[in-house]
């Protein structure tokens, strides 16, 4: 997943241009109005200002400690703030770079506005920004589509690379599920009449830029909850440090020696204890999660949706394209009694010669493979094509002499036979049942004469389950995610494919209403549902699902109903989205654990240093044997600042993710981030202290 995302982005984690911009931004973010949004870092910000004032006091008057020491602490507190700003700026920078590319596509273009809905209506040229919802425009070859809309007339090939990054043009046409066009894309051939569906500033491209830039980013529910917890910890530590001053004064009086703890040391202690690591990286983690999604070519309409993706319990997956290859293939001919297999194959091939559907072509291929029946020229045979219609639900050929060969769904052929008063062979009914039970689709072939109908047999159309999909579902099951296959097939067929693909459940004979009802039912059980869809009839279900991923190739209605749009229109993208959502939450949890377990070591550095003057016995707690009290406190503060920078790559990339049950994941992450968080600062603080001592600063 990561590799694909990186390919898509093509941008290294520390791209020099982004880093440069981020450094500048970290200073810009020192604005108190920005700082106040993050309660943890805001307290550090106040601490930095306080120590700066104390430094000036020491410089010009009677300071509570040597000015140099206060300056060092103060500087590192400022660095702590700057590093947190830098982390956020880095995360935003990646989005901004992408937004800049998108903006070029949004540039103002002239549009040909029509007075009516027909091509011949009077037209005037207006700037694209003047277009409003409901206006009708004509777009011709090599013109940019001025705004989002729906094609009401015509068909065109459109270059959507500005949005999807995919260079192959796509076909857009009036009516059906391919009628939506996006502003900023270009018509390559033909001309279309488009009814505008969005006002300026509300187009898909605008929303995309907003999301990518994080401009409209609001804190997500889980982020808010975590912020509350971090704020509570911060308040506790603030109080711990504030009350330590009277405690220290009392102790100095009781012991009769030493001096009370200084404000500088208290500020340093507080900043070390406050969960600055997670506090400083929290917003970066959120932005980076969104960014990872963008790199997977998915645009989320809200951060909430990304979080919900991590919670999804049930995936509704369309059978076709996701679980099976798009087309069914003929795999056997099952002749009716009294018909030879070759005769059936011959008839099936004839009936399919003009049929350009994948199923039709696969029958021709199978007939050639099995019996060497060659491609024949339809015109030479004097045959005419009988197209498939929704009423007859059959297709085939008329042959000279009033003979016709027809193929179609079992019930259609059965009706054909019944209408003609012909017998329907019992054996063929058996084939139909057997094929369906095996997960295949039966297709019957019949011959119609002037007055009679003869059922020749069945063709076994088989769904081909995608390679590796079974393992994918097993992985999801381990993660506790249930997969439901959605298909229009009958229950027997669906059950067989479901078993072959290894999904947990299936919805057969699915209609938009049954899909919606299923989602509601699952949600009523308290589960979260994710699904993909592209058609207008998917819109209600997409809107109802907790995570609704609309295909970019889909209709405008589908895109508006969903809360994510997949620019690749890949049906398997849903699994990737779930992973990104989970990774986002895991990164938050792991860094919180890391941040809090860090505090133990910091106590061992600061407590003996702060009180050894009053109670020399407390020197025994200096287990790291730090050189001097000053170097001990400074080392803890420096470690606290540097760890933020050190963890930026982790925050941006997300913690390593693997599919496993919750208990296993918890154990592994606890050992790594809890245990690591406990030990790392002991090592880090000692090393920094050694460096300070070596430089003669201790």
């Amino acid at each position: 997943m990561t590799t694909k995302a990186q390919q898509a982005a093509g941008r290294p984690l520390f791209d020099p241009s982004i880093v440069r911009a981020a450094v500048l931004d970290s200073f810009r973010k020192l604005d108190p109005r920005v700082q106040v949004r993050n309660p943890v870092m805001f307290t550090v910000y106040i601490g930095s200002m306080l120590t700066t004032l104390l430094f000036f006091q020491a410089l010009f008057g009677r300071g509570e400690a040597p000015a140099g020491f206060i300056l060092a602490i103060s500087l590192w507190l400022w660095f702590t703030v700057l590093f947190a700003n830098f982390a956020e700026a880095m995360a935003e920078g990646r989005g901004k770079a992408q937004a800049a590319t998108l903006r070029q596509a949004r540039a103002e273009t002239p549009a040909r506005r029509l007075a009516g809905e027909s091509r011949e209506a009077a037209s005037e040229t207006v700037p694209s920004t003047a277009l409003r919802k409901g206006d009708v425009v004509l777009v011709q070859t090599d013109e940019t589509i001025p705004c989002d809309g729906e094609i009401i007339d015509g068909v065109a090939s459109v270059d959507e690379s500005a949005i999807t990054g995919e260079s192959a043009p796509v076909i857009r046409e009036a009516g059906g599920d391919r009628s939506a066009v996006t502003g900023g894309t270009r018509v390559l051939s033909d001309s279309i009449v488009v009814r505008i569906s969005a006002d300026p500033g509300e187009t898909f491209l605008d929303r995309m830029i907003g999301m990518v830039e994080g401009a409209k980013r609001r804190k997500t529910p889980n982020e808010i909850a975590l912020n509350i917890l971090l704020a509570a910890l911060t308040i506790i530590f603030l109080l711990v440090c504030a009350t330590l001053l009277p405690f220290s004064v009392y102790s100095v009086n009781a012991a009769g020696k030493g001096t009370a703890i200084t404000i500088t040391v208290l500020a340093a202690l507080f900043v070390c204890l406050a969960p600055t690591t997670i506090g400083g990286l929290l917003s970066a983690i959120g932005i980076a999660g969104m960014d990872r999604l963008i790199q997977a070519n998915v645009i989320a309409m809200s951060g909430r949706a990304v979080e919900a993706a991590g919670d999804v319990d049930v995936l509704l997956l369309d059978k076709t394209g996701t679980i099976t290859l798009g087309n069914r293939q003929a795999s056997a001919f099952l002749p009716a009694p009294g018909v030879s297999e070759q005769e059936l194959a011959d008839a099936a091939q004839l009936s399919s010669l003009v049929d350009e559907t994948p199923e039709g072509r696969s029958i021709v291929v199978l007939a050639k493979e099995k019996f060497g029946i060659r491609q024949r020229d339809v015109a030479a045979l004097g045959a005419t094509f009988i197209p498939f219609t929704a009423q007859t639900r059959m297709s085939g050929v008329h042959l000279p002499g009033g003979r016709a060969l027809l193929k179609g769904a079992p019930d259609a052929i059965e009706r054909l036979a019944a209408d003609a008063g012909a017998a329907f062979p019992e054996a063929v009914s058996g084939f139909v049942r057997d094929i369906a039970a095996e997960g295949g689709t039966p297709l019957l072939v019949a011959e119609r004469d002037a007055d009679s109908v003869r059922v020749l047999g069945a063709v076994w159309l088989k769904d081909i389950v995608k390679g590796g999909i079974r393992e994918k579902f097993a992985e999801l099951r381990r993660m506790g995610i249930k997969t439901v296959m959605v298909t229009g097939d009958n229950p027997l067929t669906a059950a067989a494919i479901a078993a072959e693909a290894g999904v947990d459940d299936f919805l057969a004979e699915a209609k938009p209403e049954t899909k919606l009802a299923l989602i509601r039912k699952i949600q009523a059980e308290g589960r979260l549902v994710a699904m993909t869809g592209d058609g207008t009839n998917d819109a209600p279900a997409l809107a109802q699902a907790d995570v609704g991923v609309a295909m970019n190739t889909g209709t405008q209605a589908a895109k508006e109903a969903g809360n994510m749009v997949d620019l690749d229109s890949s049906p398997t993208k849903l699994m990737e989205i779930v992973q990104i959502g989970k990774q986002l939450l895991m990164t938050r949890g792991s860094l919180t654990t890391f941040s809090i377990s860090n505090d133990i070591a910091k106590y061992f550095a600061i407590i003996p240093a702060a009180f050894v003057g009053t109670y020399p016995a407390l020197g025994a707690l200096n287990v790291m044997h730090l050189a001097t009290p000053q170097s001990a406190i400074l080392s803890a503060v420096i470690f606290n600042a540097l760890i933020i920078v050190g963890l930026i790559p982790l925050a941006l990339r997300g913690v390593a993710y693997r599919a496993a049950g919750a208990a296993t994941v918890l154990r592994d992450n606890l050992i790594l981030y809890g245990g690591g968080g406990l030990i790392a600062p002991f090592v880090g603080i000692k090393l920094i202290d050694m460096v300070l001592a070596a430089c003669g600063l201790a």
Binding site: A225, L226, V240, A254, A255, G526, G589, S590, A620
Partner: protein, 591 residues
């Protein structure tokens, strides 16, 4: 010092606790769910009669605000009555020893202390409370403050198991049922057992006995007199008479332990031979303190429909308890190197202990009484070794969740479990959920409040005391130990424990008033957010569990819960402890 008998006793104690808590837990679940049980058939008329008299409709469900209001108003009324009683006890009957009314600040502190299940006593029971006060005032609150705890816990459990509703049950029925069917029967049985062991139970007052051997002693001059003339010498005196205090003790003693109240009839509490006469009474009292808090874990498991959840909570509490017990016992049996040097051999620390209980039973009692929010003592905590004294202090500072108060300990622990679920749940990549309920911003906010409020009480109270002359003046010991005494006092009050380091003369206006406020805030500003939490949880759908759900019954989760409790406590109190017991310990070792 410690013999194998000590360990056998400990083993027996834990076995008895385990064996009794399981059936009791199931029984309490039946009571709280309003199911049919034998006692309901016997006492049902009384329950229904009470509802009729008080005009309570037992079938009416309350939402969290109504529930919280009923709980709070009930306690306000209880406070008012108790305060009045303490003030005018001199004018009321059943006062054979002629006790006078308490001073306003002391009465405020004492009333607050008993309604909040703290039972901090800034007075000596034998010198300050009439029999009527002991029975009608203090003992009644020993029952209802414990029942309040059970009621709030029950509402929280209902919040966890109910779905998409605002209803959390009825406070009055929860209160009546807990008192009538759980606390009263248990207290009745225990009182009889204690009477049998020799605890007095009488309305008669003090008797005077002529001493067989007169005792020669010295009367130390008062502090004020010493100020004017530091050279004053103690006056020698001879005692020939002894006043022996009596009263309705067994009835109060039983609920003092069962309700994790801890307010003794005597100043010496369970170290006094009348309150705790025999090894068996000591065993029973210790068992009684832990019994209900431990059994409530099983009640929790039964009510949420997954006994393993109860075992996990009990496991976390037991693990913390045994860890701290080991430290306390070890520190006490090591004693101090200074004494060892004088007597020439290592010896356990026996200062402040009853010889009849010895090191193990004293350390065990001290750990039990502070792990729970009981606060009864059979040994003087002020005289424990520095680390031995650190144990009770830390157990209180952890928020009284290691068994804790009746009901309140478990709801505190559940709050910690919610916080643990929050962090752990994120680590597995899902919005955290506990027992199927999603933990979101509101829950985090309430849980943070529950954890923060007692911490604030301890830190701010101690901070205030060391800043003021009145606060510092109450301290008897110099150096770091004086700081420990103040820290202990506020740790005890702000966590509704009620035990004390002796050596602090806490009966002055500022300790009384500030302490009263701290006790009140800690009790109600945790109980009310817990009810709000319950209300919010009840309104949610339940998420079915699956492989992706974080299991909350595993040893791993239990360990994590223990770690979270320890880390929150440690991070908050390490600096203060470093200036108190930790430095005392290091100094004792001669560092």
């Amino acid at each position: 010092m410690t013999t194998s008998t000590d360990f056998m006793q400990l083993g027996l104690f834990l076995l008895a606790l385990l064996a009794l808590s399981w059936p009791l837990g199931g029984y309490m679940a039946a009571v709280l769910e309003g199911r049919n049980h034998p006692l309901a058939r016997i006492l049902g008329w009384l329950e229904r009669g009470l509802y009729r008299v008080c005009g309570v409709d037992p079938t009416r469900e309350m939402d969290w605000k109504e529930y919280a209001l009923a709980m709070f108003l009930f306690n306000v009324a209880g406070f008012a009555v108790l305060y009045l009683l303490l003030r005018v006890q001199g004018l009321l009957p059943l006062n054979p020893d002629g006790q006078t009314g308490m001073a306003p600040d002391l009465a405020f502190n004492t009333a607050m202390s008993f309604i909040t299940n703290t039972n901090w006593q800034a007075y000596s029971g034998e010198n300050a409370a009439s029999h009527l006060t002991q029975m009608l005032g203090l003992t009644v609150h020993n029952f209802v403050s414990a029942a309040t705890g059970i009621a709030v816990l029950t509402a929280l459990i209902r919040g966890l198991i109910r779905r998409e509703t605002r209803e959390l049950g009825n406070f009055w029925t929860d209160l009546v049922r807990s008192t009538l069917y759980i606390l009263l029967p248990l207290a009745f049985v225990l009182s009889l057992a204690l009477c049998w062991q020799g605890v007095p139970q009488t309305f008669r007052g003090t008797v005077n006995a002529t001493l067989a051997e007169p005792v020669v002693y010295e009367i130390a001059p008062g502090a004020d007199a010493l100020k004017t003339d530091p050279a004053l010498k103690p006056t020698p005196a001879i005692a020939t008479q002894q006043a022996i205090m009596r009263g309705p003790m067994a009835s109060q003693e039983a609920i003092k332990e069962l309700g994790t109240n801890g307010g003794g009839f005597f100043n010496a509490n369970s170290a006094h031979p009348f309150e705790n006469p025999t090894p068996l009474s000591n065993f029973l009292e210790m068992l009684a303190i832990l019994l209900i808090p431990a059994a409530l874990c099983h009640t929790f498991g039964r009510m949420v429909g997954d006994a393993r959840q109860g075992w996990m909570l009990l496991g976390a509490m037991t693990a913390l308890f045994l860890g701290f017990l080991a430290l306390c016992w070890w520190a006490e049996s090591q004693g101090s190197p200074q004494i060892a040097a004088i007597i020439g051999t290592p010896a356990g620390n026996m200062e402040g202990k009853e010889l009849r209980f010895g090191v193990m039973n004293s350390a065990l009692f001290a750990t039990i009484t502070t792990a729970t929010s009981c606060g009864a003592v059979n040994t003087m905590h002020d005289s424990l070794t520095p680390l031995g004294g650190l144990v009770p202090m830390v157990l209180m500072q952890l928020g009284e969740v290691v068994f804790g108060g009746v009901g309140s300990g478990l709801y505190g622990m559940v709050v910690f479990a919610v916080i643990t679920v929050f962090v752990a749940g994120l680590m597995v990549g899902r919005t955290p959920e506990y027992l199927g309920k999603k933990i979101e911003a509101f829950e985090t906010k309430m849980c943070s409040l529950v954890i923060m409020v007692p911490l604030f009480g301890v830190l701010l109270g101690t901070g205030w005391a060391v800043l003021t002359g009145m606060g510092r003046g109450a301290v008897a010991n110099p150096g770091a130990h004086g700081f420990s005494e103040i820290l202990y006092a506020f740790s005890s009050m702000a966590n509704n424990n009620g035990s004390a380091f002796a050596g602090l003369s806490a009966n002055n206006a500022l300790y009384n008033l500030l302490g009263g406020i701290v006790m009140c805030t800690s009790r109600f500003w945790t109980a009310i957010p817990v009810l709000a939490l319950a209300g919010s949880l009840a309104g949610k759908k339940a998420v079915p569990t699956g492989a992706g759900t974080l299991p909350t019954h595993t040893p791993l989760f239990c360990g994590l819960l223990v770690a979270v409790v320890l880390v929150v406590g440690a991070l908050t109190f390490i600096p203060a402890l470093a200036l108190g017991p930790i430095v005392e310990h290091l100094q004792m070792l001669g560092r």
